[in-house]
Symmetry: C2
Subunit: 188 residues, 2 copies
DNA sequence: TCTGCCATGTAAAACGTTACATGATTTG
DNA sequence: CAAATCATGTAACGTTTTACATGGCAGA
């Protein structure tokens, strides 16, 4: 599948980035849905240059620190677009170790199960709060103002950002709701 | 982390299974949240036997077909329980290639984006229908009868099964809802 | 000057998928 | 008797993580 390849091509579609910058991007919003460590990114960048999908120029930062700024080539853009329009099949499995534990809940006492469940709820709620704060702070960037009833639209330069944030929020809300709904199983 | 190890130990906690049976289990409900191919399962089973967490007896099926029936040992049960009670940290990234494409939506035309979105919605809706049918069929097994107001409880032997099914349904409902809510971005 | 961040890489191990390989049993 | 399923394994390849390794830069 080589999804990392397309993640990198996609990031470079609109701007030049260094390997370090790409690593940083994966720690931001898109990291909710795809990421990689720098040890995977640097070899992938080299490979993409070899394949003619990227090129780079070396830039000096300060006195002598070299960084490589990568840009996408026409061939790279072409491959990216071919991938981007191809329909994404559903994965059979979306791995979730917590839910695997829940499948084996009969191995636990009521108290142990309750603790695990509470712990997961706590973490998911905290994550949800962070995501919602991020969303609130980005409302002006997204151009969504409650008073004027403005809405995100297809041509908005931050549509992708908006979509991943709202989707991450929806995912966490659903998780929190499911946990809350089933919490009663462990009390008493 | 060795999650597959614990998935196998968990499956063997209540009954004897062959490698083939374990492979089959991963194609059922728990496959929504964890799975592995037989090529990963057979070596893992051998390893778990070597580690003293499982043993097996060879059973003859029919005339000469040999199958290995695995059971968990006391050491295996001990390791399983230690894992099961340990709190699960949230993964930073829950990979979703479709959402990665959505982050790069600016590379697509309105029509292309609309097609992708519709395609994903169709697939998610279809999956949701299957899961809901499964749930409806299992209501008697779960002991949930609308007329008598019975409820799932902690000691129910199928609680794990119930939890993964309801969670998978919640996940798909949330996905479908999010897709539906944002579909308007691509029309006209 | 020290701490945290910027910056790039490689090596080894672990995890996961696809393909290769073989044969028995069951059901239509 | 043919096809689907049961049953077990290995090999090769691809992906991902952890650890090793090095050094520059900026601000307190």
């Amino acid at each position: 599948m080589r999804v990392l390849k397309f993640a990198i091509l996609g990031l470079l579609y609109r701007q030049e980035y260094s390997g370090y910058d790409i690593t940083s991007q994966f720690k931001k919003e898109i990291g909710q849905f795809w990421s990689a460590k720098h040890s995977q990114i640097y070899p992938e960048l080299r490979k993409l240059v070899e394949e003619g999908l990227l090129h780079f120029r070396t830039q000096i930062q300060g006195e002598k620190l070299e960084k490589k700024m990568y840009t996408i080539t026409d061939a790279g853009r072409k491959e990216l677009l071919a991938w981007a329009v191809s329909p994404e099949p559903l994965p059979e499995t979306e791995k979730d170790a917590f839910m695997l534990k829940m499948y084996f809940i009969h191995t636990l006492s009521r108290e142990e199960a309750h603790t695990l469940f509470e712990h997961q709820l706590h973490q998911r709620q905290e994550k949800l709060v962070h995501l919602e704060e991020e969303y609130q702070q980005l409302l002006p960037v997204f151009g969504i103002e409650r008073t004027e009833g403005k809405m995100m639209n297809f041509d908005h330069p931050h549509l992708g950002h908006y979509l991943v944030l709202t989707k991450a929020i929806a995912r966490e809300q659903s998780y929190v709701q499911w946990l809350t709904q089933h919490m009663q199983l462990f009390v008493q």
